[in-house]
Symmetry: C2
Subunit: 190 residues, 2 copies
């Protein structure tokens, strides 16, 4: 599938069919992640591919609880309408873990270790693009406290669960989300 079509056609998917994702596709998606760039090619990522229903159920419970807390704290009305029930159906969640020690130059700059998160994010974008290209839906999900996810997935405290990537066959057409005009977003220094 052509790159630009994939980039423009990808949408966040929040409705999944329960059909399992084949192991070959899981590996293809993670291989795509691993070709992302990283500081000094440190490859500061690890992947936990979760298909266990009990564990996915715990992730749903964490997200559903966190949603309520978020609504109380933010007062955002839309968050109350945001149904995270799709997490009970999604056949595959890939947790992307970052290693702050592998951040490269950042470690010696004022802002500190950030680049490991950037590299993991580039890896996640490769995953979402690849999922879309093979006809799967994907979602970059971060509505959780990191310590809760560490506990649920048995992740060492020195690794950062940057995001959970939900993947599966889409259960409907994702909601199209518009983009702002380019001229609002660019400035030229010529």
């Amino acid at each position: 599938m052509d790159l630009f079509d994939v980039i423009k056609g990808r949408r966040s998917c929040r409705k999944y069919l329960p059909d399992p994702v084949g192991e070959d596709l899981v590996e293809k998606i993670i291989e795509a992640a691993m070709w992302a760039p990283s500081p000094a090619n440190n490859q500061p990522w690890e992947f936990v591919a979760v298909t266990n229903r009990d564990v996915i159920g715990k992730i749903f419970e964490e997200a559903d609880y966190r949603k309520k807390i978020l609504y109380e704290k933010s007062g955002w009305k839309w968050i109350n309408r945001y149904d995270v029930g799709f997490l009970k159906d999604v056949p595959l969640i890939i947790a992307v873990l970052g290693d702050p020690k592998k951040s490269g130059a950042d470690l010696f700059l004022t802002h500190g270790a950030e680049a490991y998160q950037h590299a993991c994010s580039a890896a996640i974008q490769n995953m979402l693009l690849t999922a879309h290209a093979v006809g799967l839906g994907g979602l970059w999900f971060t509505l959780f406290e990191k310590d809760s996810i560490r506990q649920i997935l048995n992740i060492a405290t020195d690794l950062d669960p940057v995001a959970l990537v939900c993947i599966g066959k889409p259960g409907g057409d994702p909601f199209p989300t518009p983009r702002k005009e380019m001229k609002e977003k660019i400035r030229y220094i010529s």
Copy 2:
């Protein structure tokens, strides 16, 4: 160009020809960036496309100075051999600025505003893939203090210069960088 070929074929480019990048390609690369996912579709990014030689010269000076500081602090021998002189030749640098206020749920979670950086990083990966697909080289560059780049590019203090993306015709074949074995990086919870 096929997605997976682009993902696997992309390499960090550190040698550029001075030929200018056409405005149509600059816009295509930034349009690709803007199709990245973001928290609640907040699109927390802005782009500064720099072709002015004096300004690019100042970016080179900042990177060259920071490299020396980094070498002193880290003792990493490779950093001393890392020639940032390519920054004097690169025809185009696109600064990607993130807005922490547009981080979504993170703002109310323990770890705080991170998601705006993730979204910008996904946007940058789209840029690098698109550059590669149209035959250009790209580099995700972060060897700078953010306040220095804010000053050079006249960026408001509430925006975060997440990275500088160097883009131009490659002046040679980029160094191929290997990847670790997938089995070292995956754990399954089935």
